[in-house]
Structures are given as C-alpha cells and as structure tokens.
C-alpha cells in the first residue's frame, strides 16, 4: 500500500514539475507565478501522500504550513504589482 501511495506522490510531483516550463516561458509574470502556485498545491499533495505512506503524522504539519503559505507568492505578487503603478505595469516581455 505504501508503495502505491509513494508512486502516486512521484507521479503528482513529476506532473507539477513539468509546469515549470510555464515559469520559463511566461509570457506574463502572472503566468510564472501560476507555475509556482501549482507546484505549491502539488507539493502539499505529495506531502500528504508521503505522510500517510510512511505513517509519519509530523509530516502532516509540514503540509499544513505549506498550505498556509501557498498563497503568499500570489498575494505578494498581486500587492507588489498593485502598489507599484495604479495603471498596472505591462509585464509582457
């Protein structure tokens, strides 16, 4: 059973890691942050699977912290862009 859960974790990790391509390609900065956001959620899922697979309840706390801070990159990005210029800076390259 644990093997199956770990395999699922590896699958989810590989999947969201491919999303890094969007980080490199953009074209807008919002797209790049999206890749990090997906990685955050995927990472939380991986931690949950690992926690149950290895019967380590403390790992759930890491998942909890990750879930709490998952939105920080998006929030920091939105607030930095919002406060920079009321018209909204063009972020296409």
């Amino acid at each position: 059973m644990a093997e199956g859960l770990l395999a699922a974790a590896a699958f989810v990790l590989a999947t969201v890691a491919v999303g890094l391509v969007r980080l490199l390609r953009g074209p807008t900065d919002a797209d790049r942050v999206m890749a990090a956001q997906l990685l955050g959620t995927g990472g939380t899922a991986v931690l949950l699977l690992v926690a149950v697979a290895s019967a380590a309840p403390a790992v759930l706390d890491v998942a909890l912290v990750l879930a709490l801070v998952a939105a920080f990159a998006s929030a920091a990005f939105a607030s930095a862009v919002g406060s920079e210029d009321p018209a909204g800076a063009p972020d296409a390259e």
Binding site: L13, A36, D61, F72, A75
Partner: protein, 314 residues
C-alpha cells in the same frame, strides 16, 4: 527501483530544474519565482531526509523570502535592462562554468567518500535526551546542548534588523517602515488577510508548543506568526509600528534577555553558562521559548517591512 527512490529522484530533478530556472531565467522576476519553486522542492527534500523540523522551518521561511524577493524584483524591474549590459563575456562565463563544475566535482567526491559507518552524535543525543525532559532531540539541541548557537543567532537577528534600520534617512529615524497602509481594493487579498491569520496564528503557537516532544519549533512557529502579520500588512489591514516605539523594542529584546538571564543564572544554580539544574531543563526551556517566539516573530516581520521611511509623529 522502489517508488520511494523514484520520488527522491523526482525531488532531486525538480531541485535542479528549479535552481536552473532561478539562475538562468530571462528576467530577475522569473528567477525569483524559480527560487520560490526551489524552496518548495527543498521542503520536500527535507521531509525525505527525515528532517521534519528543518522542513517546517524551510516552508515557513520561504513565504517571507518570497514576499521580500518578489517585492524587490517588481520594484527593480525598470533597472534591469541597464544592468544586463554588464553581463560578463562568453569566455569569462565559460571559465566560471568550468570552475563551478570543479566545485561540484569536488563536493561529489566528498559525498562519495563519506566514511562508513557515518560519524554521528545520535547515540549521544539519545543517551542525554531523558535528562532534558524533552522528546524532540532537535529542540534539545537548539535549546540545551547547542543553546549558545541559538542565543548568538538571536543576536545576529537583532544586529541584522539594526543594520536594515540604519539605512533610513535621518528624518525618518524612529518612524514607520513602508508607505501608509491603504486598504486593498482586491477582494481576494482582503479575504485572505482576514481568514488566514487566525488559522496561521493558531498553527504557529501549536508548532512552538509541540516542539518539546514532536517536530515543530520556535523558529517555524514565529516565522508563521510573522508571515501572517506580513499578509495583513500587504492587504493594508495593519500598519507597521514606529521603530522607535518602546513597546516594540521591549518585544524585540525580550527573548535574548530571557535567554541571557537563564544563561547567567546557570553559574549560580548549575555548573556554568546556560547549564540547567537537573529536573529544571524543560520548564526553563519553555520559559525561554515563549519570549523568544515573540522576539523572533517581531524581528522577522520587521526585516520584511524594511527601514523606516515615514518621519515619527511628534
């Protein structure tokens, strides 16, 4: 290959890709986002290396680092084109790449040559753990066996904060960091800033409290507390305190002071600096941890806020 090893290989591959993106991406902003992805992968790696305490710290700190670096990347965006012209020539880059490869080869050789069986303090730690009354050896290391390190780190934290504050204009000295708060017009940000902090504060306190016996700790706990304040500030719900405020100063030094007090008391009731009398280790450690959490949270939050820019009100 077992599924666990496949997962580990995936994490290492993700670490390398994210680090590559952080270093080689086109813009500084993209590089910073790559670094955030890297921090996330690092938290997973720590879990797989059976270092849950470290994973908690990494996950919490990466939130603050993200706010700091993303904000700087957005503010410095206009300056990027001019700096890009300073890129070293192709030959220099090649030379740097060769040297870095040599460093990697050296480190890899060291890793492959690690002694077997590995030298370890784990047996010592396991033997001495009962004397501290704690169940989590990492907390015991941080607050008992290597407590001097932790104390010095508190001092470094305060010194770093002072250095940041010293960048202020003379007229802003003692004033508040950052522009005055403006309630965000973004409903989603306002919602986050209202809903997350209560949960984050409870989780942070829980991490401090549980650290005696389970993975957790004053560092991830206080980092989480600081992060929640930073979030509320991003939404314009709270203002940064004036750096000259005596209450703020008291909160900042409470932790180190308690630490020093217990440390010097060690001369009187035990056999030296930061020595705990038998049977008293756990209550003393908790007595240090609570003010320390407040001080660390305040210092981390203000490090993110930056130097004061608004003159103090008279």
């Amino acid at each position: 290959m077992s599924a666990g090893l496949a997962l580990d290989a995936g994490i290492v591959a993700l670490l390398l890709c994210a680090a590559g993106a952080a270093v080689a991406a086109r813009s500084a902003f993209a590089g910073v986002v790559g670094f955030l992805a890297y921090g996330l992968a690092l938290a997973l790696a720590w879990v797989r290396l059976a270092a849950v305490d470290v994973a908690l710290t990494e996950a919490a700190v990466s939130a603050l680092t993200g706010v700091l670096l993303l904000g700087a990347a957005v503010r410095l965006r206009a300056s990027e084109a001019a700096v890009a012209a300073e890129r070293p020539s192709r030959g220099l880059r090649l030379a740097a790449a060769l040297l870095c490869s040599a460093v990697a080869a050296g480190l890899a050789a060291v890793v492959l040559a690690f002694a077997d069986p590995a030298p370890s303090l784990a047996p010592d730690a396991a033997r001495r753990l009962p004397a501290t009354g704690l169940d989590n050896p990492v907390t015991a290391a941080l607050l008992s066996w290597r407590a001097v390190d932790t104390l010095l780190e508190k001092v470094v934290l305060l010194a770093g904060l002072l250095a940041v504050w010293s960048l202020a204009h003379d007229r802003a000295w003692g004033g508040r960091p950052g522009p005055p708060p403006r309630a965000t017009r973004d409903g989603a940000l306002a919602l986050l800033a209202r809903l997350l902090p209560p949960i984050g504060i409870v989780t942070g306190v829980y991490l401090v409290w549980t650290a005696a016996d389970h993975p957790g700790g004053a560092f991830p706990g206080s980092t989480l507390l600081a992060a929640m304040w930073v979030l509320a500030r991003m939404a314009g719900a709270v203002d940064a305190p004036a750096v000259g405020d005596p209450r703020l100063r008291a909160a900042l030094v409470a932790g180190p002071l308690a630490f020093f007090a217990v440390g010097f008391a060690g001369y009187a009731w035990a056999d030296g600096f930061l020595a705990y009398p038998a049977g008293w280790a756990k209550p003393l450690i908790v007595a240090i941890e609570i003010p320390m959490t407040i001080s660390v949270a305040a210092a981390l939050a203000l490090l993110v806020a930056g130097p004061p820019v608004r003159a103090p009100s008279r």
